[in-house]
């Protein structure tokens, strides 16, 4: 059995082994193996290629850009996604514009341990994918499975553009698979995580599992809910979404991020524009609440969508 977290470690081990241009840079990623142990033993296995950085997110990203210009393929670990706000400028203004401005690609991977866990509070829980997706020049991955954590991270390192790799902390230990995958879907393709015909849930990352649980629950009531795991949110696989809505006629987009203008808004906007006629009912959204992510588990459990609240919203949708 291998966990989502171990898959991330294995992907990095493989990238380091296969490609001498790869190195890892981040706070405590070296001998310590990272705050979450995502780089456990890698410094020992790949001497000199897994380096502890100072607490300097802006310079961490900036240095990765310079190294990429010189032909390297850096992996930057943010200790928590939330701290990437400090490196925000280098990400959106430097990494994201480099190729477009200079014709020199910027193959860097920035790993963001993302999303909420109980007791983590406002500054160790954020889902920042929509911010990065808004900026041209970035690819934003949001793997929901152990297999994707592995193969998408390898893809991220291989891609010639900056990739924001949003790995979900809640899935780190909760999610297990039998083995690492030997093949993978192409980047940019969404996956039908569960087939259905009565309604479509489009989601990604940890919310895939809450949505699958919702589908499970509603199956007991006779409903067949299709669940689409976007895998990457930019590019966003509109075709797969539209094809699903064409089958089901009903759409619920679910995300763990803040409600204003995130991934779910983009999904609804695309389906409304390009698949209006496919809809048998108004599409719906479910996001976290419009406050910071709360610390206390009682509040946190209500702030983010769960199988229960997704099911409730889905029942509303099915009633329409």
């Amino acid at each position: 059995m291998i966990t989502y977290l171990e898959a991330i470690r294995e992907a990095q081990a493989r990238a380091l082994a296969d490609d001498p241009r790869v190195y890892i840079y981040g706070q405590d990623v070296g001998a310590f193996g990272g705050a979450f142990k995502a780089t456990k033993n890698l410094a020992q296995e790949f001497p000199g290629r897994v380096l502890d950085s100072p607490i300097s997110e802006d310079a961490m990203v900036g240095s990765a850009i310079g190294a990429a210009i010189e032909g390297m393929r850096p992996i930057i670990e943010m200790q928590f996604a939330d701290f990437s706000t400090v490196g925000f400028n280098q990400i959106v203004n430097h990494a994201a514009t480099l190729h477009w401005r200079t014709n020199v690609p910027c193959p860097i991977t920035i790993r963001l341990p993302s999303g909420g866990t109980a007791g983590a509070g406002p500054f160790h829980s954020q889902s920042m994918e929509a911010l990065y997706a808004h900026y041209p020049g970035l690819i934003v991955m949001t793997p929901a499975t152990v297999e994707d954590a592995y193969s998408m991270l390898l893809e991220a390192v291989a891609i010639d553009d900056p990739v924001i790799f949003c790995e979900h902390k809640y899935l780190y230990y909760h999610l297990k698979a039998d083995a690492l995958p030997t093949e993978a879907m192409p980047t940019g393709k969404a996956r039908i995580a569960r087939a259905g015909r009565d309604a479509t849930i489009v989601t990604y990352s940890a919310m895939v599992h809450e949505s699958l649980a919702c589908a499970e629950e509603l199956a007991l009531e006779g409903w067949e809910i299709e669940v689409i795991d976007l895998r990457t949110i930019k590019p966003l696989d509109t075709d797969t979404v539209l094809a699903s809505v064409a089958r089901t006629g009903r759409l619920l987009a679910v995300g763990e991020a803040f409600p204003w203008g995130g991934v779910t808004a983009e999904i609804l906007a695309r389906v409304a524009t390009e698949g209006f006629g496919l809809l048998d009912a108004p599409p719906m959204r479910l996001n976290a609440k419009d406050t910071p992510v709360p610390y206390h588990p009682n509040l946190w459990g209500t702030h983010r969508p769960t199988a229960k609240t997704i099911s409730a919203r889905m029942r509303d949708l099915l009633r329409l």
Binding site: D52, G121, F123, P259
Partner: protein
Amino acid sequence: MLQTTEVPSPLAEPSAFRQTFFAAYRWMLLARLLEEKIASLYRGGKIIGGVFLGRGQEALSVAVGMALQKGDIFAPLIRDQAGRLAFGESLLDCTRTYMGSRLGPMRGRDGNVHRGRPREGMFAMISHLGAMIPAVVGALLARRFRGVTGTVGATCLGDGATSTGAFHEGLNMAAVEKLPLIVVVANNQYAYSTPNARQFACEDLVDKAVGYGVTGHRLDATDLETCLRVLNKAVANARDGGGPQLVVASLLRLAGHGEHDDAHYIDDRLRESRLGLDCLKVAEQRLLAEGWADESALHGLENNAQRQIDEAVATTLREPAPDPNVEDWCALATRHLSESSHAE
């Protein structure tokens, strides 16, 4: 809080000095025992999330808290339990925040070390290291605008946090404005697992002072008297118009980064060096050696502290957890501008 910025000299004013030292020791002891209690609650599964201790850093922290006066500003960091208590934070503010009580200052919305009462001068840290410095700078600027004089602002951070852009921008801004800011760097040799050698390349962090045009102070923070003297001096300088003060203290964190961490990476030679001394023990030995207290008096102090802590914890444990149904889920102060839940 001391009502004077002068630490009395042990020779010239032995009894006053003893009082100060003794008061500091009591806060340190209370902080140590409080944190031990929090750690044991954590091990017992009563605290969800992280627990971060100031073990070994109490002398420095208490000296900051005691050098400040009512009306000053204090922006503590994760290892400042002792300074918080000395500055006036109640035990309940700590226990309630760690346990997420609805009645605490953070009402379960934020937790553990992320607590404060900004309007009472105790700022509530955000996690992003260095970020509190400019906030204190702005508060001091505000006081200048408002014509308030004689107050200062202090903030603490670790060796690792000196590498942040926020540290640099904040300290530079304070220097330009010549504001009464005291920045206390607890150089405990590591940032999480990262040793000083991977964090900075200057000989001593205090070497940064001249580059900002501010006064630098350095000290061995295992010795309480030194801490009291240096912090009082730095605070007095700032209060007297001397501009920002950069205090760099050497010490060791005698705990993990958080309670989930066994700190195995800390070099044994450091543990065995002077830096590895436990400031609380050192202060205790001084008390005994000077004859300012005997074993039984110390025991009494400990019992007393323990009782206060147990009471605070017991109270907190009985308190209501936040209720999501009562919670108002509104981030704005201007309630009518908050959006009804369009996409939640």
